[in-house]
Structure formats: C-alpha cells, structure tokens
C-alpha cells in the first residue's frame, strides 16, 4: 500500500510524464520514417547499394566519401528517406533536455538550490553535446 511518504516527488512525476509521452512519440516517428525509407516512398540521399559498400568505413571516412553533411546540416536533407529518420532519433535524444527544463521551475520553487544548479549544468552539457561544436579531429 502506498502512502504519502513513499510517493514520488512532484518533479519526479512530471519528469516521468514527459518521458513517457515523448518516448512513444519518438518511437512511433522512428518506425514511420523507417517505413518511408525502406519502401522507397521517399528516395534516400545515399542509395542502398552505395550505402552497403561504405558502411564498413570509419564514420569520418564514410561522410567524406559520400559527401554527407556534418552536425545539424542534415536538416536540409530531411526530405529524403534516410535523413528523415534523424527526426525520430534526434527527438528521442533531445527528450532529456526537455524533461530537465520542465522540472527546473519546480526545483526553483522548492528552493532546491544545489539541484537547480546541477540541473542547469546538465542542460548546458547536453546542449553543448547536441550543438555539434564538439567534434572529433578534422579530416
């Protein structure tokens, strides 16, 4: 039997709620875009036979060989079957930042100063990782 003491906190429940909806939206997006990709309804930037001959290359060489864009430049190719799949992938990868931003006001209201600072730092770390500023050594 659950009592008040054993209940999850307000911020924890909000985090869970966003994560729950977001995960299923993200997964449904991924499956839909993948269907459009593999059925050829939307033509890919990299044809399947070409992809197959290059997927054993290092990622950096793969991108260079096929002349593919780095970082967020994929957005300009989102109309193609392969790059459309990035919408779901990026959505799922961005979900944690949304959850952190959503619980920040609650943490501030509860005057949980250490957690406010840590949450802000986490958002900054994730945004930095997502920004594409951090790169593996040049070609």
């Amino acid at each position: 039997m659950t009592n008040e003491k054993t209940k999850a906190t307000e911020e924890q429940l909000l985090y869970a709620k966003i994560l729950s909806y977001g995960t299923w939206i993200g997964l449904a997006t991924m499956v839909t875009t993948f269907f459009l990709y593999v059925t050829g309804i939307l033509a890919p930037v990299v044809p399947m036979d070409r992809l197959q001959t290059c997927w054993s290359m290092k990622a950096k060489d793969f991108m260079h060989e096929l002349g593919l864009p780095h970082g967020w430049n994929w957005v300009s190719l989102a109309g193609h079957g392969d790059y459309l799949n990035y919408v779901g992938i990026v959505f799922l990868s961005g979900l944690t930042v949304v959850c952190y931003l959503a619980i920040l006001p609650i943490l501030i209201r509860k005057k949980e100063t250490p957690y406010v600072i840590i949450a802000i730092l986490e958002v900054l770390v994730l945004v930095l990782a997502a920004s594409g500023i951090l790169k593996v050594g040049g070609h």
Partner: protein, 336 residues
C-alpha cells in the same frame, strides 16, 4: 536454452560468412573499386566485410539485425543485463558494419530501452531523481569525452579495448555481490548537502524502506570512469552503475537497479549526440535493432516468469564472454 543456441548458431554463421567474404574480396575487387577501394584507406578487415556485405541484398541486413536483436532482447531480460552491453560486442564482432556505427546504434538501443523503462520506474519511486541527477551530471560529461576519444581511435584499437572491457564486465558480472539493503552507518557530508535519500515501499517484505547513501565523493569519481567507458564503447553502463550505487553508495538493490536503468537515459544521450553529429548513426541499423530489442524484451519479460533466471544468467555471461573474445581477437588481427 533454445534462443541462446539459435543466437550462437547465427553468430557462427555470420563469422563464417565474413571469412568467405574475405576470400571473395580479391575476385570482386573490380566491382567494388569505385566505392570501398577509394582514395580513403580502409583497413583489410573492413574491406573484407564490405565485400561480404555487398554480395548480399541490402534488405537482408536490417532483417537479420531485427531477428538477432529480438533474440538479444529476450536474453537481456532473462540474463538481467542491458541490451546495449550485448549489442555492441555481438553486432560489432559478427556484422559488416564499422564499429563506429555499431557503437552509435548501441547507444541509441540502450537509450531507447532506458527511456521506455524510465517513466514506470520514476512513478513507482524506484528510480530516484535525487540520486540520479548528481550522478548523471558527472557520467554524462565523461561520456562526451569518451565518445570523442572513441570516435577518434582506429577500429582495431577500439575492438581490442572493447574486447578487454567486455571480458572485464563478464568478470564483474560473475563475481560482484549484491546487497538488498546495504548497511549505511553514517551519511557523508556531500550526500547530506544534496539530500540524497528516499523512502520506498518494499512489497517483498511489506514495509517502507528508508535509505540514504555514503561514500558519495568516491562514487562520483568512479562515475567519471563509467561514463567515459559508456561513451567510448557505446555500451549501456548498468553492469557498473548497479554495483557502484548498491555496494559503494549503499542504495538498496531495487533503487540501484531502477536508478541505473533511468540514469542511462541521461548518460547515453550526451554520448549519442556526439555520434549523431559525427555521422556515426545509420538509420538502417538503428531502427530494426531498436525495435527488435524492445519487442524481444517484452517477450523476455513473459518468458521470465516460467524460467530459472540463474542458469540463463550464466548462459548470457558465456555469450558475452564469447563476443568479448571475438572483439579482442578481431582487434588484435587474430580473428579478422
């Protein structure tokens, strides 16, 4: 266990297929000259794998990935391990994809599993946000460093290190003790300042269990290493998170397992971004693997009720050891 035997047979078939591909590569050089044999140097093992891959219709690969990851999902649940830790050594060792893409997919597979499990664990107050938030900051920052270093290293070095890491994980999994309710005599100052504590309903004993942690600074330092390894190898890090949260910090086992699972959603996110931005994510690999492992996990949960988990755990450990050994030998050039 039939699924384990099935998976081993499939992997052996793929290993043999890879060797045939290597032999065929010489004869098929002309066909592939325009692509794989370009100005960009490709290591011999990768070249052989490309040749093997190009003799097979493209759609076979996502289909086989789906089947293998489906079985993997069942085994992961039955063996009590994360999907990511099985995915990277098995797919990296026996499929033609470069280890960069395998790690990118591995991170997303672990991330999706964690995102799917997270809400339920948080709502039931088994995963603790108070425990996860400080740990996640350390682990996710370190994971970025690991991902950057991992993507910069050559494949043979990554495979050698991955194989060694997997064998180490097997040793940890086989020997690490667990404690349902560790004794925490005194909460340390950092844990007190952060208020890392909680209370949850333990249904197995019908009581509310209060918990807090100790040795927090040392544990946070350990999460630097765990995060770095997770980012570098694209592994979920449950194998390391749970012992540190449980045995080092003194969180109850259920809280440790649940918080670890949720924690991966943050740690793996930061590393996944580095792989996405570095072009190391192939949708053709990611989506079937992710769906396969998630569906397999659902089936695994149903099978779990009717099986003896302990014997299966040892089979999974054996499979993991075999995959780790394969990565190590591949990296060293002994079994290319």
């Amino acid at each position: 266990m039939p699924v384990t035997v099935f998976l081993l047979v499939m992997l052996a078939a793929f290993a043999a297929f890879g060797s045939e591909g290597a032999t065929a590569a010489a004869g098929a050089a002309g066909e592939h000259a325009g692509a794989a044999a370009s100005a960009i140097p490709v290591d011999p093992a990768a070249g052989a794998a490309a040749a093997a891959a190009s003799t097979t219709a493209w759609w076979v690969w996502p289909l086989v990935l789906f089947v293998v990851t489906f079985v993997m999902g069942i085994l992961a649940v039955l063996g009590g391990v994360g999907g990511g830790v099985l995915f990277v050594p098995i797919i990296g060792g026996f499929f033609p994809f470069h280890i960069d893409f395998v790690r990118g997919a591995g991170l997303l597979v672990a991330l999706a599993g964690s995102l799917a499990a997270g809400p339920g664990l948080l709502k039931r107050n088994l995963a603790s946000l108070r425990l996860a938030i400080p740990v996640a900051l350390i682990a996710s920052t370190a994971a970025i460093g690991g991902a950057l270093v991992g993507l910069a290293l050559p494949a043979n070095v990554v495979n050698t290190m991955l194989g060694s890491a997997i064998i180490l994980i097997v040793i940890i999994m086989g020997t690490a003790k667990k404690s349902d309710f560790p004794n925490v005599p005194r909460q340390d100052n950092l844990s007190k300042a952060l208020g890392i504590m909680g209370i949850y309903r333990e249904e197995s004993i019908g009581q509310d269990v209060e918990w807090h942690t100790h040795r927090t600074p040392g544990a946070l330092a350990t999460f630097v290493v765990i995060g770095f390894m997770a980012g570098m190898f694209g592994l979920g890090a449950g194998w390391a998170n749970v012992p540190v949260l449980n045995l080092m910090m003194g969180a109850p086992l259920k809280i440790s397992v649940a918080t670890s699972k949720f924690l991966l959603s943050i740690t793996d996110t930061s590393a996944a971004w580095i792989f996405i931005n570095g072009g190391a994510v192939l949708p053709l690999m990611v989506v079937p693997s992710l769906v396969g492992i998630m569906l397999g996990s659902l089936v695994g949960v149903k099978i779990l009720a009717k099986t003896k988990p302990k014997s299966i755990k040892w089979m999974v450990i054996g499979l993991l050891f075999f995959s780790g050994l394969r990565s190590l030998l591949k990296g060293l050039g002994i079994w290319p």
